[in-house]
């Protein structure tokens, strides 16, 4: 409402009332305006200082930017934490988060190395099996087809422990003495091979299967014990064939 206009008449008109009927009310309300002094009240010392200094620049925008920055930082930390907890960070960052959590926090973020091994365990298996096969060939060249019982054992063992690659030996198994040297070794696990291993095969003679028995180290025997039938059976059959080809 600008000066020069009569707010009282405006009020009456806006309300849809008859100006003539309300002339008395308008006159009475006009006297109200006499309580408005001509001069402002004397400012207090604090207000006088403010009026003398002019406007104080408010710090509100700075506080707002600080709040926004804090919010963004909190969101980033939260997102990083979630990513670290679900092992979704890049490997170096995940490793760093794991190390830090191991030392500082009461819980640990996943170790990317362990997870990688866990994921790649089954993938590495054929290579390991190949190594073992090579070893078996190497050993078996001079000692008969029975040496290749190990590949057969690995084939039987691998599906049983896909997520535990650490259980596999990382060093080549110590060559064991040939079977004839220990004829009286008790038959374990694949020891049933002689009866089951491809009896109709042309080279699946007793020597190959005997080699299977005799070559098994105690540790192999233990693993064979987990899956005695198939591993020994395949090993026996293959060893017989291979020993034939090699021979």
């Amino acid at each position: 409402m600008q000066e020069g206009r009569d707010p009282i008449r405006d009020m009456i008109a806006e309300s849809g009332l008859d100006a003539d009927d309300y002339a008395g009310v308008a006159d009475a309300l006009a006297t109200l305006r006499s309580v408005v002094p001509a001069d402002p009240p004397t400012p207090s010392a604090e207000l006088a200082a403010l009026l003398t200094a002019g406007t104080v620049v408010a710090l509100r925008p700075r506080r707002n930017s600080l709040a926004v920055a804090s919010g963004v930082t909190a969101a980033l930390v939260l997102a990083s934490g979630v990513a670290a907890a679900t092992n979704n960070l890049p490997d170096p960052l995940q490793r760093f988060a794991h190390d830090v959590s191991e030392k500082v926090l009461p819980f640990e973020f996943p170790d990317p190395d362990r997870h990688a091994q866990g994921r790649e365990g089954p993938v590495q298996l054929p290579e390991q099996a190949k190594n073992d096969t090579d070893q078996g060939k190497h050993v078996g060249k001079g000692e008969g087809g029975g040496k290749t019982a190990n590949p057969g054992s690995q084939e039987g063992k691998a599906p049983d422990k896909p997520g535990k690659p650490d259980a596999r030996p990382t060093t080549p198994p110590t060559p064991t003495p040939p079977a004839p040297d220990r004829p009286d070794k008790p038959v374990q696990g694949g020891g049933e091979d002689p009866g089951e291993g491809d009896p109709s095969g042309p080279g699946a003679g007793e020597q190959g299967d005997q080699g299977d028995q005799g070559e098994d180290s105690p540790s192999d025997a233990t693993t064979k014990g987990e899956d005695p039938g198939d591993g020994g059976n395949k090993g026996g059959g293959k060893s017989g064939d291979r020993s034939l080809r090699q021979g």
């Binding site: 409402m1 600008q2 000066e3 707010p7 009282i8 009020m11 009456i12 806006e14 309300s15 849809g16 009332l17 009927d21 309300y22 008395g24 009310v25 009475a28 309300l29 006297t31 109200l32 305006r33 006499s34 309580v35 408005v36 002094p37 001509a38 001069d39 402002p40 009240p41 004397t42 400012p43 207090s44 604090e46 207000l47 403010l50 009026l51 003398t52 200094a53 002019g54 406007t55 104080v56 620049v57 408010a58 509100r60």
Partner: protein, 180 residues
């Protein structure tokens, strides 16, 4: 004296003279509004209003009209705070005969009576609280319907209705008084 847009812009940028002009133009209206509402210390409240408003000038929007709305929003809020404070902790003072209005009218009442507005104050006091607020803000604060709605946190239609009922009640009260 009227606030111009350029004066308000200068006040926003911290010009001392412009800030002083804002105070000189609006402080009397605020003081009149607080007096009409019956504030205990209208001068002190007026100071508080401008202590709150001046630091907020740089972020002000809406030019002179926006400034007027802001000033009366703060003034009305301060008045409401005072009323609530009084209701919570009524002040008890020793009896002093010179302040007994039954025998000796106070200086303020004397001044009002001299201005011939005592009867209007008496009539206004018979209106509802919201109707008094609307009429006070519109007449003493020179606020428009929309500005009054902003100050009181209501819709324009509600303010229109309140002022219409207030005017009708005032007329009825005046008719009743003259009829006696």
């Amino acid at each position: 004296m009227e606030l111009t847009e350029s004066t308000v812009e200068d006040a926003k940028s911290g010009n001392r003279d412009a800030v002083g002009m804002v105070y000189r133009v609006l402080a009397p209206k605020v003081l009149g509004y607080l007096r009409a509402r019956g504030a205990e210390d209208p001068e002190g409240l007026t100071n508080e209003v401008f202590l709150a408003v001046i630091p907020r000038l740089p972020s002000l929007e809406g030019g002179a009209a926006g400034l007027r709305t802001l000033v009366f929003s703060v003034a009305h809020a301060r008045y409401v705070d005072e009323i609530r404070r009084r209701a919570r902790r009524p002040v008890q003072t020793a009896y002093e005969q010179e302040y007994d209005e039954r025998t000796t009218p106070s200086a303020e009442v004397t001044a009002i009576e001299q201005n011939g507005s005592a009867q209007v104050f008496g009539l206004l006091s018979l209106l509802g609280e919201e109707q008094r607020s609307v009429i006070g803000l519109r007449i003493l604060g020179d606020l428009s319907l929309e500005q009054t709605a902003q100050v009181l946190g209501k819709t324009t239609g509600a303010i229109k209705q309140l002022q219409r009922r207030g005017l009708e009640n005032l007329r009825q009260l005046m008719t009743d008084r003259d009829g006696r």
